[in-house]
Symmetry: C2
């Protein structure tokens, strides 16, 4: 279609072959470099040339190769996020916050899943390094074998348990959140307040906040769970246990909304109405909490803000990789709905 010459330079665009930057350049009557500038939205390209290039792109149905851009440039303009469980919806706000702050700067977000590991990849982080991501957000329990071998800016989001060397931390203040939950329930007159928790680091901090606040008020602590995961089923089991062992219990604080859903099921199975017979408070303010069936009072961990903070931390560290490691805590907030009532 378009004439090009030489084996190293121009040649005929063959039918069926994907157009490349040279094809666009020829079609627009400019150099490949100019096309590259337009592609990257660089300033200092005359409007006429820019229009010509864009028209050629449109006409040829050209789509740039990100592989080539990543290889040639020194950056992939991609941020990798390590996620582990799609069923616990806390990540939705995190992703949105991340994207909102990164997209305007031309960064994309790639999600890696620990259960989806490829050949030779020990951890999802390896896969992201192979992708040559410019930064990594760890939104799971970090494990030691995840520690990036190379100096990719990394931030751990939502978890402060294991300090990843060189990684910033952005999380909501789970300890404060735990206190907030107890404060709310105690303020409603509850004395027998149970807590159902899970295995992770965030859950541990929430539990610590619960315990500190309970003790500060001279109330006895009642904790169940904490061994396995934080699924609905774990919440159900733990709440059942709590309810059966402690008949005087009037309130439950669940480590997250998913477990709270389980607790609601347990309450129903034990004939306890919410909120008349049992107050229930969750954590995360996930889409689940706002469901009409639950109208769950919850602690909003501000996952959107955590995502935004993670994005900024990454951006800062890209500018200055030697800056001191830094922890940012977002202040959580109580969201009162209909699952809590006076004792």
């Amino acid at each position: 279609m378009w004439l090009r010459m030489g084996n190293n330079g121009w040649m005929t665009q063959e039918a069926g072959k994907r157009p490349n930057i040279y094809d666009v350049a020829t079609a627009a009557g400019v150099s490949k470099s100019l096309v590259s500038l337009v592609l990257r939205g660089a300033p200092g390209v005359s409007p006429a040339r820019r229009a010509a290039v864009e028209e050629a792109i449109e006409r040829l149905n050209y789509r740039p190769s990100r592989a080539a851009a990543t290889l040639a440039g020194n950056a992939s303009r991609t941020i990798g996020v390590v996620l582990d469980d799609y069923r616990n919806l806390w990540f939705v706000g995190l992703l949105a916050g991340l994207h909102e702050h990164l997209a305007p700067l031309g960064f994309r977000v790639a999600v890696a899943d620990p259960s989806f590991n490829a050949h030779l990849d020990r951890t999802p982080v390896d896969g992201l390094i192979s992708l040559r991501v410019d930064g990594i957000v760890i939104a799971t329990e970090p494990t030691e074998d995840m520690f990036p071998g190379l100096d990719v800016p990394t931030v751990v989001a939502g978890n402060r348990d294991l300090a990843v060397p060189g990684a910033d931390i952005v999380a909501n203040d789970d300890l404060l959140g735990g206190r907030l939950a107890v404060e709310h329930l105690a303020g409603l007159g509850h004395r027998d307040i149970g807590h159902i928790t899970g295995g992770g680091g965030a859950a541990r901090l929430r539990a610590q906040g619960y315990e500190a606040e309970m003790r500060g008020r001279g109330l006895r602590t009642l904790v169940a769970g904490g061994h396995g995961q934080t699924t609905e089923s774990d919440g159900y089991q733990a709440a059942l246990h709590l309810l059966d062992e402690n008949p005087t219990l009037t309130a439950i604080f669940a480590a997250n909304d998913t477990m709270a859903l389980g607790a609601a099921g347990a309450a129903r199975d034990r004939g306890r109405r919410i909120p008349e017979d049992l107050s229930l408070i969750g954590y995360d303010n996930s889409p689940l909490a706002s469901a009409n069936l639950l109208r769950l009072t919850t602690i909003d961990g501000k996952n959107g803000e955590v995502g935004a903070g993670a994005a900024n931390a990454l951006l800062d560290r890209m500018k200055d990789p030697t800056a001191a490691v830094h922890t940012e805590l977002v202040t959580p907030e109580l969201v009162v709905r209909a699952s809590t009532a006076p004792a």
Copy 2:
């Protein structure tokens, strides 16, 4: 560290520089091509050399560049999936099914989100084309501007509404599923069975199945919703409407589990107990349906099988791009839990 010579060939591996295939080759005392073979798990490499290369990879902490591999090879060994809403969990099984069938063959899965579009990308499909994915799974309502301009094998999963030219279709038989739901409820003696539906193509088919089966049994159809999305809130509104307009209603079939959750909220707000006063059946068998609070009877659309079918369709089309377009329907199955009871 390792000595190399010439500007085009070998040079000293500088500290801080990411090792490349040449560094590994030197460290292992083999050629870069041999390293490439080991990387790709190719046969015909002697065990001794393979071990040497693997040891060098480990020692240098080498991670291959996927960008370079994609650019140099003619395939990225990546399948792109277009997803639109993380809150509706039907995609979880789909992703698992896809991955399960693709990972053993060395394919990775990349998720694209319509709301996360980059510069110059009109649709998420453009982003995937730029990634040079070897195949695309559309797990949303396809729109015309998504039609790939190039011949990337494409399959639409879970939706048969809009035929994407050249794309195979894998879905569960939503029409049959709708009939199954009615059959179950009618079998329990229900006569006044309402349906709450959403805007999408799958929902439309489920509604058609509902209507066909209802009419076949001489029952009057009662449908609400169908305008907006299929969120919990839409389900709540539609169910409220249905309940208020039709006091004799004894059962509701929701277009998906998420809407069923909304319907459960509406029933609670209208003082209708489930299943004593109102039977409720959902669709998808998502993690939500098994929650103890709902124990939702649902139609299992076999999303894992749909994912597996999509993977196979993609694989087949990679082998033979000219094969005729093909639709595969997975047979859905009733899952009885505790949200339905005799009228």
